[in-house]
Symmetry: C2
Subunit: 208 residues, 2 copies
DNA sequence: ATACTAATGACACTCAGTGCCGAATGGAAG
DNA sequence: CTTCCATTCGGCACTGAGTGTCATTAGTAT
């Protein structure tokens, strides 16, 4: 689903069989984010969105399983990217450095997409309903981290240590995001990098 | 709120003014957990619960803001306990040890409550709707950790490092819970303690 | 034209959660 | 005992998210 609001216009693909789709994930997401920005998330109903998109209500729920899914773009694609990036890192790079680098890369966006990304994350981290729903996406994200960590440690992805590490990485990322959203001129990637380093200090096995 | 299904019976309190409550948080939670256990969470409607409790539907939502809140008992009380426990620890105890001890204590329950607690956590960590909703409760929990860490580090509770630490603690706890639920004969407190130690090893500033 | 395919969208339905308001209940004051 | 008052109850109607069903529409291929 959804590559981008711009790349996947209705019918831009090569001819297919059957009736042409009435819209795209990207277009719906784009329209919805706009409405959320104008009126707020809770104040925007699914009916508002489908009216703005000119599609039927039932059709909407074929594109997105829930209203809560709208702010998430093609998350699966990003997960795949991170998985590949992790796999490409040299074996002798310490685990925590590998994770740090991969998480930083995961959150790198083209300069012109940053404002949209910021607004998306502002929603995801401030609207209770979205905060709650996001947990389910974070679970997939943690799984990618846990699989890599398990591979490095000779464990299974559902063992304690890989999972604990994955949770920690998620927490570091989200703590960095909170800072980023609180400061207009902050640099997200630097904050994430910083968070990883700081945890090393606090949690170092040599001293607390 | 709920202290316990047994301790707070309707009218057990000292005389009050006005009509007597028809039930208690504890009783509702107890009845609901029972139904969830029998038929599953999604398969149990609020109507089922109020029918079993013999109260009106509207009354239910005065006791609990949502169906998702039912599995959480008196969480606020537990948070207070943890806050006090943290404050009581000696100042020269390293931060990560203080956090480890407090988190372990937070999850200590009387032997006879463990089966109920297990069932509660099984629900909270496996039902998507509850997983999502739990995020909101975890936020309060993290705040307690972050406040303590901030105090120790001379930061504010909403600064990067305290928040990152709080996220890490939450992650460690939940990773331990996942292991606990996967193994019938596992010891929760030992798993939590173990998770904290393992993160020290992986994340140690000396080596990765 | 006809057949086939895939997507749309209308309708009716379930369920969670809310606002409103009168009814029920029990203690306190006369 | 009666009246007053505080407080809770619970019915009703409503909104809004999400689902199952199914006829319809709009494309491609023959």
């Amino acid at each position: 689903m959804t590559v981008d609001a711009t790349t996947q216009t209705p019918g831009a693909d090569r001819p297919r069989i059957g009736r042409a789709p009435a819209t795209t994930h990207g277009e719906l997401s784009h329209i919805a984010l706009q409405l959320f920005h104008e009126r707020g998330f809770e104040e925007t109903t699914v009916d508002d969105i489908v009216r703005a998109a000119g599609i039927g209500r039932r059709t909407f729920f074929r594109y997105y399983r829930s209203k809560n899914d709208l702010p998430w773009g093609d998350f699966d694609h990003l997960l795949d990217q991170m998985r590949r990036h992790l796999a490409s890192l040299p074996d002798d790079l310490p685990l925590r450095d590998a994770l740090r680098l991969a998480v930083v890369e995961f959150n790198r966006f083209p300069t012109d997409e940053i404002p949209v990304h910021r607004e998306r994350m502002r929603l995801l981290l401030s609207v209770p309903s979205l905060m709650a729903h996001s947990t389910l996406r974070y679970t997939e994200w943690r799984q990618v981290i846990a699989e890599f960590a398990a591979d490095r440690l000779g464990d299974h992805a559902d063992d304690l240590e890989p999972r604990a590490i994955a949770w920690a990485c998620l927490g570091l990322s989200l703590a960095a995001y909170e800072q980023w959203l609180a400061n207009d001129d902050a640099d997200l990637l630097h904050l994430i990098d910083d968070a990883f380093h700081r945890l090393s200090t606090t949690w170092g096995s040599t001293r607390g």
